[in-house]
Amino acid sequence: MENKKKVLLKVENVGVSMNDKSLVKGVSFEVKQGEIVTLIGPNGSGKSTTAKIALGIYKKIDGKVKTYTNKIGYVPQKISIDWTLPIRVSDFMTLTEELTQDQINIALNLTGVEHLKNKSLSNLSGGEFQRVLIARAISKKPELLVLDEPVQGVDFKGEIALYQLIKKISDKMKCGILLISHDLHVVMSATDYVLCLNGHVCCSGTPHHVVQDSKYKELFGDRASNILSLYEHKHDHTHSPDGTIDQK
């Protein structure tokens, strides 16, 4: 059954070095339609670097990257908009894709920031900007979404709602997602495949498999191993960004 899904991204034994120092090496994985692959690991372990390699941002890499789609949405970890640029949220939404006003409204509505549409990008808070970034990435109906710490700076309730949205998108739009996250709860409960990085792949597999790996315990400590038991209950409702409960 697994084999029927279209492979969107195939990364084979990739690595990149800067000034003769290896940032990350020997990483292989693939992202299929409707699947969420997550990269976890401590700071400086090469998660963002791996995502950038997969997206073809580096000019010189080791290994091979094959992308089988050109509809890609990217939420980078860091992006600073220069104050010299007068740009509204609506201008930013159409940065790499032509969208109708309706499409813009729908995407902004999904991440709960429709009211910010005509605001200047430089006036947004960190969390608001993050929601705009996610809205922009999903608005173009990508086949492959690469999300690098997509909910940083978002309040706790919003974080859960956004992760649920991401999960929903991958199910509904059948797009493949490469996710980088620090939130082990989310990673372990919502993703199909986990790669644990520390300059190289420490361990990888399904969340169940990874939490039992000794290298994972070494990297994240014993408490991180109990994460599955912590999260193994079913939520019977969801929250919209303003905190009200949407019954399923």
């Binding site: 950038k52 997206l55 073809g56 941002i57 050109n70 890609i72 949405g73 990217y74 980078p76 992006i79 908009i81 220069d82 010299t84 640029l85 007068p86 740009i87 509204r88 201008d91 930013f92 940065l95 790499t96 894709e97 200047s120 173009k140 690469v146």
Partner: protein
């Protein structure tokens, strides 16, 4: 009608303002003001090369600008010097070499002042053809590459990841800048062309809230600078190039005042 030197000057200035308006916005957004200045300085070398080898001046300036841009890229990868130091090095050494070579050209009488500050009142019909033909070409290219260029300006990684090929568009933009300097050097001069690129865009920034609006207002600001500058130079018998830049500065100061409400354009 076009025989009248003042009409030709007006037409030339209007042509220049139409190009520098939108391109100047990108110069500001991409923080290329100093780079534009460096290309303009190197134009002197371009002009002397044209005289030595009997080339077309605009073509020679364009080629030298391109060489300077390539040299800059090389130096950036091969040295640890900061960008502004490299730009200063290229700007002043190319200016110096140009001036030294002019010294050797004893057979050609050469007006360095006109080169530095422009001589818009001596515009010929051929110059007009170059400005309007070249300018139209530059604007069409800019229109075609606007979206990927803008995306690359906002964020390299994002543009690259989503298939916009920022390296290509950054290179095309550099070529456009060199082309602008090549066609406008005779009109505003190499010391003032950077002013024409930056000041109208800067005043537009003060009164705009989106990129397209800024490009439009920048163009309008440039046109007004040309008109005010040229008519006042006629009236008070001042040098035309500096008068245009002074007019632009005057408009910039106006834009600092609270005129935001009165010029609120809707997209």
């Amino acid at each position: 009608m076009l025989d009248d030197f003042f009409i030709r000057a007006l037409l030339a200035g209007i042509g220049i303002a139409l190009i520098t308006g939108p391109i100047g916005c990108f110069v500001i957004w991409r923080r290329l003001s100093f780079f534009a200045g460096t290309l303009a300085h190197s134009a002197l070398l371009g002009v002397t090369m044209a005289l030595v080898f009997e080339l077309n001046i605009a073509l020679s300036v364009f080629l030298i600008s391109a060489v300077i841009a390539i040299l800059l890229l090389q130096l950036q990868t091969k040295t640890n010097l900061p960008n502004d130091a490299l730009l200063g090095l290229l700007a002043h050494s190319s200016l110096a070499i140009g001036l030294v070579i002019i010294g050797f050209l004893t057979t050609i009488r050469f007006d360095v002042m006109a080169l530095l500050f422009g001589d818009i009142l001596a515009v010929s019909q051929n110059d007009l053809l170059l400005i309007w033909g070249g300018g139209l070409f530059i604007l069409i290219i800019l229109k075609i590459i606007w979206k990927p260029l803008f995306a690359s300006t906002i964020n390299y990684d994002l543009a690259k990841a989503e298939g916009m090929n920022p390296d290509r568009y950054n290179a095309i933009f550099t070529i456009l800048m060199a082309a602008i300097i090549a066609i406008s050097i005779k009109i505003v001069g190499l010391l003032l062309i950077t002013g024409m690129l930056i000041i109208p865009a800067a005043l537009a920034r003060n009164i705009s809230n989106n990129p397209v609006q800024m490009a439009l207002l920048s163009t309008i600001g440039g046109l007004l600078s040309i008109l005010i500058g040229l008519f006042s130079s006629l009236e008070f018998n001042t040098a035309s190039g500096p008068s245009i830049i002074a007019a632009a500065l005057f408009l910039f100061i106006l834009s600092l005042l609270k005129i935001k409400q009165s010029i609120k354009l809707k997209n």
